[in-house]
């Protein structure tokens, strides 16, 4: 099953709606709740990053019986040093973002923690692509 979403970079209220939709679909498909939660968190972090750091973008979701594959593509400023950005606590978030409860530098580490595979490719000035894979039928590990 394929789903795609456009994430509006100017609408903070709507940020998270794509993740919410996917969560609903996975529930309908009968995926185990701990796996759904891992996917929802990883997805939400990526979606929020897209809105806060890259002014929105596109999300493509591919659900098969064995896995979910999610691609976030934005045309934002890009990430200069991905390894550095992956470190817990690293954040370039503005005061405005911090006032909203984000900017702890935990989003990318969370995505890594909760996904089975995380791949980030980025080019400065062009944008960032985040790919997440979570396997669906490994119960309770």
């Amino acid at each position: 099953m394929k789903l795609n979403f456009e994430v509006d970079g100017d609408d903070f209220l709507l940020a998270g709606e794509a993740s919410s939709q996917v969560k609903k679909v996975l529930k309908q498909l009968g995926v185990a709740s701990d796996i759904i939660r891992r996917i929802a968190i990883a997805m939400y972090e990526a979606e929020i990053n897209m809105v806060l750091h890259a002014n929105g973008g596109m999300v493509d979701v591919d659900i098969s019986p064995e896995k979910i594959y999610i691609v976030f593509q934005d045309t934002g400023p890009g990430i200069e040093d991905i390894e550095l950005a992956m470190q817990e606590g690293y954040s370039t978030a503005s005061d405005k973002i911090r006032e909203l409860g984000f900017g702890a530098g935990m989003g990318l580490p969370n995505m890594k923690r909760y996904s089975d595979d995380l791949k980030i490719t980025s080019e400065l000035g062009k944008g960032t692509k985040v790919e997440i894979i979570v396997y669906l039928n490994r119960e309770g590990d």
């Binding site: 903070f12 919410s20 939660r37 968190i41 909203l100 409860g101 984000f102 702890a104 935990m106 969370n110």
Partner: protein, 125 residues
């Protein structure tokens, strides 16, 4: 602990979900950082926070958190209330600051399984 009891301990006002106070919470988490909540929280947790923007509700939704307490008497934005209604999340509001609200709940028995929290994580998926 039932939400009804949380309401009494915190002398709280119910903003959303007056009819759903029979929900049970096992542990509480006090934080103003949503990514920390997303990193460390487990199921059936009550979230206490000084933040009142709609993304608090989104965060709760992703985590399957069923109830939130807004501390320091802060009134959430109307968008936040609407979203909580839509997502079926109970909202309470208390005058106590975060530290005291957490302390009151803890000392009244909302401690979770303390052994599991020693490493700082409440659970690992």
């Amino acid at each position: 602990m039932k939400l009804e009891e949380v309401k009494q301990i915190l002398n709280a006002e119910v903003l959303v979900g007056e009819d759903r106070l029979d929900r049970e919470v096992l542990l509480a988490c006090g934080s103003d950082l949503m990514s920390d909540v997303l990193a460390f929280v487990k199921e059936k947790v009550l979230l206490l926070t000084g933040l009142t923007n709609p993304q608090v509700i989104r965060t709760a939704e992703m985590m399957d958190i069923k109830a939130i307490v807004f501390v320091r008497g802060k009134q959430p934005d109307p968008e936040t209330i609407q979203l909580a209604e839509k997502k079926n999340i109970v909202i309470l509001k208390t005058k106590y600051p975060l530290y005291i609200a957490c302390g009151l709940l803890y000392s009244n028995g909302l401690t979770g399984d303390e052994k599991k929290q020693e490493e700082g994580y409440e659970v690992k998926f």
